[in-house]
Symmetry: C2
Subunit: 138 residues, 2 copies
């Protein structure tokens, strides 16, 4: 299994541990002539009304030497996916899944905090080895 | 000369043809512990008051097979650069330079037009072979 796939499966299993049902792996989005894929689609029954909460999760491993280059790619995928979901499935919420080590090392940078104030991204911070979600950041 | 460098030089020469002086190649931006580089910095005297107009230009060649992947990278660089410039040099305007063929093929996609309505990017559309700027899109 590639290292990338290992991170993908870690997030998949972490979501399942928290009671999510993986409904798409990957989640296809067709818009115009473009065919996009978000890594995972998942659903969960939430609250007394048993509403079905739906999420899409793009899993990032940040395996490149240049973490900021990986960040550019992640940021650059998130917003097109968000706009596509807004048109195709407006009730599905998009998350970017990032490893805890990267969250600690990179997301405290003044550039990234300023950027996320202006262009918010919902995050799932995950612990790959433990296959657990550390925190949901809405 | 690599194909990537050829596109870089084409935009540099195109700007010079329009009277811009290239002041940085590349333009370094230090923010927190991060060191970013925008491809070009340029200046031009504009108007009767002889104000110095300053720009930063990130040149994209879109040489990958997957043009949308190249777009993610370009989009994902533009906004961090914009936020960094806003803090370091708020009077310098950021542009993304894209080849005319890519502009015609990709930027008419409904996803991209919807995205740019919500997250505007200033563009320079360039003709690589002619080393000319086709259009400035503000």
């Amino acid at each position: 299994m590639s290292r990338r796939d290992k991170f993908h499966d870690a997030v998949r299993h972490a979501l399942e541990k928290e009671g999510w049902t993986i409904t798409h792996d990957p989640l296809p989005l067709k818009i115009g002539t473009l065919k996009l894929e978000v890594d995972l689609g998942a659903e969960k029954l939430i609250g007394a009304e048993k509403d079905n909460q739906k999420i899409a999760v793009e899993v990032k491993s940040f395996l490149r030497t240049s973490k900021i280059t990986d960040f550019y790619q992640a940021f650059g995928q998130f917003f097109p996916y968000k706009v596509a979901l807004g048109q195709l499935e407006p009730d599905r919420i998009l998350y970017l899944a990032v490893p805890d080590s990267i969250y600690e090392a990179l997301f405290g940078e003044v550039l990234i905090t300023s950027l996320l104030e202006q262009y918010p991204m919902k995050l799932i911070v995950y612990i790959a080895d433990a296959e657990e979600i550390q925190i949901w950041i809405d």
